[in-house]
């Protein structure tokens, strides 16, 4: 390197001067008016959220307060709490609610138990190459139709299905169609939604924290209990919200593999269709909404919602 190399001005790039285009004027206008920027950014999503989403929920609540003329089958817009009271006191509704919540809780517990080791392996053990492969493998079932997967499980769990064939040599039998089959199928369906947030949560735990725990004398169990679990707790909650709320609203899987069992979704479905009682269906649909709101209120205290 020579210190005083001759300067070579011709190498300097020529920067063209600004041209006064419409796009440029628009940009200037936007950069000068932050409120206008915000309005343009949010008006479309806010319209969608407000009208299509919130308004639909409000309409549901209002419909639940109307009633159906039993002779003509038309909705009469007279205000009454009858539907709500029926749903709250009717033994059918109580039983089905308890059953639905039970199924949703079990599905959530099973999914978390299965997702934790898989997500841990993906985030902390697998090589970057395997990590990518596993993420794709976890997402792959989502490419297939929900119905196809439910019917696949119906076939797997049938009396002469692959499950029976697999466990029969060990004296086992397929659970057949019923609530256990429903729980298995729903656990399968919602597993990716639980693995992904937990995987993302584990990715955010630096390896050095695990090493620091071991370095300070923490054995594997202590490290998992005192460092890993508290740090990924919000991610677990996020995953549980998916599996819990999706299970709570499901009615197709239980139809396909649930035998004669009904869940809340089935009651809504029959009241909308066969019974033609839209107000009662709306009242039933309020049950999972209330439960989810209750669940969210509980998990809000864990701080999990700040990490969703």
């Amino acid at each position: 390197m020579t210190v005083d190399a001759p300067a070579q001005p011709e190498l300097r790039a020529v920067v063209p001067p600004h041209r006064d285009t419409i796009a440029r004027r628009g940009s200037v206008l936007l950069s000068k008016h932050p409120r206008l920027r915000l309005t343009l950014l949010l008006s479309a999503p806010l319209f969608w959220l407000g009208l299509v989403y919130i308004a639909a929920l409000a309409a549901l609540l209002i419909t639940a307060l109307w009633t159906v003329d039993t002779f003509t089958g038309t909705i009469s817009q007279t205000w009454t709490l009858d539907n709500i009271i029926t749903v709250l006191t009717g033994s059918l509704y109580q039983t089905v609610t308890v059953r639905t919540v039970g199924v949703a809780v079990l599905v959530t517990v099973i999914d978390i138990a299965v997702a934790l080791p898989i997500a841990f392996y993906m985030a902390k053990v697998a090589s970057p190459r395997w990590q990518r492969i596993l993420v794709i493998a976890v997402l792959m079932p989502l490419w297939a139709s929900y119905l196809v997967k439910a019917y696949a499980w119906r076939s797997v769990l049938s009396q002469d299905g692959i499950y029976e064939w697999l466990v029969a040599p060990f004296g086992g039998h397929t659970p057949g169609y019923g609530l256990p089959a429903t729980i298995i199928t729903l656990s399968y369906l919602w597993l990716p939604y639980v693995i992904l947030p937990i995987y993302a949560g584990l990715e955010r735990v630096p390896d050095s924290l695990l090493e620091a725990s071991g370095d300070l004398g923490g054995k594997t169990g202590a490290t998992l209990r005192l460092v890993v679990l508290p740090m990924i707790w919000p991610a677990i909650i996020a995953g549980s919200i998916f599996s819990f709320s999706l299970s709570l609203g499901d009615y197709i899987t239980v139809n396909i593999v649930g035998g004669a069992n009904q869940m809340l979704g089935n009651l809504v479905y029959t009241n909308v269709g066969a019974a033609n009682n839209l107000p009662l269906a709306a009242a039933i649909a309020l049950i999972p909404i209330v439960i989810i709101f209750g669940y969210l209120a509980v998990v809000r205290r864990t701080g999990a919602l700040e990490n969703l």
């Binding site: 050095s208 924290l209 725990s213 300070l216 005192l226």
Partner: protein
């Protein structure tokens, strides 16, 4: 505790990642109570050695002994060494006090007892009032001290520090260097300190191992490392050096071999001014760089090498001189160090093939400063006798 047992003994320690030997047959004894530094550029294997001692990595071959006990196959939680991590690795969900008490907690110490001990450890690092905060609410220097308290509260035999001051700004770093030294004296435990900052290593250590490409290039006290480097690599990595190739040595020093000369050992004057030194050489002033306490002068010698000269500003005699003026430089023979090995910095001459092809001609940049061989001597590779 036997006094003659080294705190840490590494024998034939090798760690390969695929085809690369990150650590290549390191033998090393570190005495008890020593402040030992492992110095080297990034990728030289110093951090890997530290992780092998801590147990985060398993060696491909070789052993790690702690106070005479072979701990090579023990898990990190089974070794009496603790680490201060480069990113501090504080648990973000725990309070500062719980962070410090963690090592005691997993050892089954009662809450009351461990909080008392942790509080005491926090006081030693002058953070007594910060126990209830979360790590996220502390500054970098405070987090650094929490990490120190957390690692020392469990009374390890050896404390490993992985570039612990790297993330701090200069003032804080200098302050923390003093605190580290004091803490080490207070606790009397062995510190193994990994750094790429040669000044930090020189300031803090009792002994330094200079790492290069997975091996220890030189082992010695700071003075030995700085004053008697064994190779162009050490001479250039620790401080700034003027390195004379074999041919230049013959011209300037009258003897063969590779030699090095520190910039501050050279005096400089006008050409006509008589320099009262054993050896003199004439040249042209290429650049004058003012660096506050001193001035750095870059001189192109007529012999065909660019030399760096560092002059204290109170003794500056050529302040009037400008680029292009003629100067003469002088030095004493005892300040010239003959280098035993010829390992050069990997980025330049070291990367030249050893089969007689020319090395990288011209000047190199070491520590951001121009040094090295002449542009007119392109066929004198420093690696002709590469190991």
């Amino acid at each position: 505790m036997t006094a003659d047992q080294p705190a840490i003994r590494l024998t034939g320690l090798t760690k390969s990642f695929g085809a690369v030997n990150a650590v290549d047959g390191v033998d090393l004894d570190i005495a008890e109570g020593e402040f030992f530094s492992m110095l080297g550029p990034s990728g030289s294997g110093k951090t890997t050695v530290l992780r092998l001692i801590a147990g985060f990595e398993q060696p491909t071959s070789g052993t790690v002994s702690l106070l005479g006990q072979d701990v090579t196959n023990r898990a990190p939680f089974d070794r009496d060494v603790n680490t201060v991590f480069q990113d501090y690795a504080l648990f973000p969900h725990m309070s500062v006090l719980d962070n410090v008490a963690y090592g005691l907690r997993v050892r089954g110490v009662s809450k009351r007892e461990r909080h008392a001990q942790a509080q005491q450890a926090l006081e030693t690092v002058r953070l007594g009032g910060f126990g209830n905060r979360k790590p996220g609410q502390l500054s970098g220097g405070q987090r650094q001290r929490v990490a120190l308290a957390r690692a020392t509260v469990v009374r390890p035999k050896v404390l490993l520090l992985d570039e612990p001051l790297g993330a701090l700004d200069l003032k804080l770093r200098e302050q923390m260097q003093v605190e580290l030294k004091e803490l080490q004296r207070e606790l009397g435990i062995t510190f193994i300190f990994v750094t790429h900052d040669q000044e930090e290593a020189l300031t803090l250590s009792d002994r330094i191992a200079v790492f290069n490409e997975g091996r220890i290039e030189q082992l010695g006290t700071p003075a030995e490392i700085y004053d008697r480097p064994v190779s162009p690599f050490v001479a250039a990595f620790v401080g700034t050096s003027n390195i004379f190739t074999d041919a230049l040595s013959r011209v300037l020093l009258g003897r063969g071999g590779i030699h090095t000369l520190r910039p501050e050992k050279i005096s400089i004057g006008r050409t006509d001014a008589a320099l009262a030194t054993e050896r003199t050489a004439a040249g042209t002033l290429a650049e004058v760089i003012y660096v506050g306490s001193s001035t750095r002068l870059i001189v192109d010698l007529d012999a065909g090498i660019r030399i760096v000269v560092l002059e204290q500003n109170d003794a500056h005699r050529v302040s009037e001189d400008e680029r292009g003026s003629r100067v003469s430089i002088g030095w004493g023979d005892r300040d010239v160090v003959a280098l035993e090995k010829s390992t050069a910095v990997a980025a330049e001459a070291g990367s030249a093939p050893a089969d007689g092809q020319p090395g990288v001609p011209g000047t190199g940049h070491i520590n951001g400063q121009v040094i090295g061989q002449s542009a007119t001597e392109p066929t004198e590779p420093a690696t002709e006798t590469a190991r």
